[in-house]
């Protein structure tokens, strides 16, 4: 089973990822473990120092917010997970 993960431009630039990667995983936490193997450092960007999802990122599954269970929400084959960075420039 695999899901597509959309990586935001800032992480593409920081970690050298493509804009979309396919990963196995039954939830986003598992996908992140796999992502970390291919793109070391991504967990450091997405988790805060307490091991929670960093508040400057939002996770969407099939374009719907996965909050508040972003890491554990069950995923199915073909789902699209979008990592969206929050920013405030004007």
């Amino acid at each position: 089973m695999s899901v597509k993960i959309r990586i935001p431009p800032i992480l593409q630039e920081l970690l050298g990822t493509p804009d979309i990667v396919e990963m196995p995983g039954c939830n986003f936490r598992e996908c992140l473990d796999e992502l970390e193997i291919q793109f070391p450092g991504i967990k450091g960007q997405l988790y805060d120092k307490h091991g929670h999802l960093n508040g400057i990122y939002d996770i969407y599954v099939n374009d719907e917010s996965a909050y508040p269970n972003e890491l554990s929400k069950p995923l199915k084959d073909g789902d699209v997970v979008s990592i969206v960075m929050l920013y405030m420039g004007g």
């Binding site: 959309r6 431009p9 800032i10 804009d19 508040g55 400057i56 939002d58 969407y60 374009d63 719907e64 917010s65 909050y67 979008s82 969206v84 960075m85 929050l86 920013y87 405030m88 420039g89 004007g90």
Partner: protein, 250 residues
Amino acid sequence: MLSEHELEKYDRQIMIKGFGEEGQGKLKRAKVFIAGAGGLGCPISIYLAVAGVGKITIVDHDKVAVSNLNRQILHWDRDVERRKVESAKEKLEGLNPGIQIEGIEETITEGNVSELVDDHDLIVDAMDNVLTRYLLNRTALQKNIPLFHGAVYGFEGRATTIIPGETPCLRCLYREAPPLAKVPVVGVAPAVIGCIQATEVIKYIVGIGELLAGRLLIYDGLSLKFMEVKVGKNPDCQDCGHTVGYIKRV
């Protein structure tokens, strides 16, 4: 009632199906509050001014700096060190002398936001910091006024339209405040997002089209792609968790 000059000036948009003289009249009667005369506030105010919005209030506490000039297109080299609202008012009045432009040099605070926003039909969020955006959000909810949000970073940007009582609010979207930092930005990013915000404002006032209500539009200028996600309402939102409201149209 539109004058002959106004009918001629706005002829090309009056021609649009669903717009008409009636829509132009709604724009003429509308009072729009724009928070910020920076990268977003400049294109937003320009396009609302030339569209014929009757009253535009623009609030900003800053003076024009050299580093603003790559994106804040109402402010020119000669305006450096001048008050942004003064510079903006002068250019906007030149673009459209037939409307009312008010420039207010103030920092938007908890203490003055309600009074500043009073007597306006909608609020446009063109700020550069989350705390003022939260203030605008709360005020919009309290006064039942729609809020048109935009933000930029680098070549990227995002926009959504918040209708109190109907859509999730800004606090649902930004549950945590991103850290304050100097943000990289190229002028075309706020140009795109500011034009999207202005488009939403015009549509809302005229009453045509489908708003970005409950939808977050995300723009990546480097790949030239747009994506859209649904904004989830946070039932525990400290700002709108218990809001009951109705849709207010101008």
